[in-house]
Amino acid sequence: MKANEDQSGPNRKTLMWYLYLISMVLLAFTGFGQMPIYKRYYISDIPGLAWSADFYTTHLIHYIFSALFLGIAAYVVFDHLLLKKKRFALTLSGFIRSAIIAGLVATGLLLVIYNFSGVAFPMWAAATLLVAHMTLAVALIVTGLIVIIRKMPWTVPN
């Protein structure tokens, strides 16, 4: 077994890992950019970041990287189920991250549906959904920082 092959999924610094990282960073940046904070707090004044104050632009970028992220997530999940499940087990931190991501995907897809013409959610439902999506994003960032600092893998050999 080569170095780095004692883990599966996004542990390895593959192209997939970098795409995952890029999509996560841009999803977080454009996601928080849905709140009117980047103009107020001068983020959009930083050269090259003027677009961050345009809600329609950040909305589109969020969708584009959501698609990339969903593609990666589907690949990693099926790759694990088909090829790696027998050899690798999900760690506790991997399970927590997976659960948070599943929550983000579920709430995110509901928000995509909400944005279609002809779909209306009651105010309490839309507010709950948005707060849940935002809370899960913060939870994933915090969890991500902890696992990076403590070098905790997603999976370990059986």
Binding site: Y41, H59, Y63, A67, N115, P122
Partner: protein, 315 residues
């Protein structure tokens, strides 16, 4: 407002409960509002004489909904965020303000060799897919089943994103009240946004919006959107006129019919803060919604790649 969430109750709500609700209840609570359920208004602006009865009726009817801010306002940080105070200028009626949700744009326009005096009641267009509702980051706005776009003053933080994304920049801010005062008043939020709610409470009781009821010239008609569109086309044909609002921003529930083309009107009217334009407007939600197809295709591509790899390795 019985259907609204108390802001303290909302703040006290547990996140676990929020997550559970998000996962389990929302699909069941979602409703399809397209077309049949929406009420639209038809405004025959050839009839409007700018008497101001609608503006007055709107003000009288909605007094109880107007903001009563606490002063002094919090000092905003950073200073780029400015407090906005209309509470000392409640009588302003020549533009939209938190205390004036409807005003009349008046202008003179020459068309077909004839000079027309045109008066246009202006307020929220109540888009069929309203960006102010759909893009509010806190879900503080709602589209009712009858198409009315409504801002919840108990939940709105006053960040004004609704105004930024509104093609006509309709909502107006009043600082010094709202949920932001209970959170981080200096650092996040800045009051509450206000705009026409098309008298949703009167409509719920089977009454007409105050502006429609008060009009002595019967400028406005309200009814199911399909009927209103048909009436608008018939009226436009009859007067050899023009329609605005049917397709703007993907369609609105406010349909204007005018004897003068709207591009001429748009050039002639006074535009600016609180004074919306009459330009053609593309569907602002369309680009994002068109990308939603990519969200469906991407996981299929991911699964195909994983299955392809599995097949290659097990062959």
């Amino acid at each position: 407002m019985s259907h609204q969430i108390s802001r303290r109750l909302f703040l006290k709500g547990g996140l676990a409960a929020a997550g559970t609700l998000a996962a389990s209840s929302i699909p069941a609570a979602a409703s399809i509002t397209d077309g049949t359920g929406h009420l639209a208004t038809l405004l025959d602006i050839s009839k409007c004489i700018a008497c101001g009865a609608c503006v007055e009726a709107c003000s009288e009817t909605n007094q109880s909904k107007y903001p009563e801010p606490e002063k002094p306002f919090p000092k905003m940080v950073p200073s780029r965020a400015k407090n906005v105070d209309w509470s000392e200028k409640r009588d302003v009626d020549d533009r939209l303000t938190p205390y004036n949700w409807l005003y009349i744009q008046s202008t003179y326009v020459e068309h077909d060799g004839e000079e027309h005096e045109v008066n246009i009641p202006r307020r929220c267009m109540h888009c069929t897919n309203p960006p102010c509702v759909k893009l509010c980051p806190f879900g503080a706005a709602e589209q009712l089943k009858n198409g009315i776009a409504l801002i919840n003053d108990n939940l709105c933080l006053g960040g004004a994103k609704c105004k930024t994304v509104c093609p006509w920049k309709i909502p107006e801010r009043q600082s010094g009240l709202g949920i932001y005062l209970d959170i981080l008043p200096k650092f996040a939020g800045n009051g509450v946004m206000y705009k026409c709610d098309r008298c949703y409470d009167r409509i719920a009781q089977g009454e007409q919006p105050a502006c429609i009821e008060a009009c002595p010239e019967d400028v406005q008609t309200i009814g199911p959107r399909d009927d209103i569109i048909r009436q608008a086309h018939a009226l436009a044909k009859e007067m050899n006129g023009y329609i605005y609002g049917e397709n703007e921003n993907g369609g609105t529930n406010t349909i204007y019919v005018s004897p003068v083309p709207f591009d001429k009107l748009n050039k002639a009217i006074e535009k600016g803060k609180g004074k919306p334009h009459l330009k053609p407007v593309k569907d602002h939600m369309a680009d994002g919604n068109n990308l939603a197809a990519a969200l469906a295709i991407a996981p299929i591509a991911g699964i195909a790649a994983a299955v392809g790899k599995f097949y290659k390795m097990t062959k």
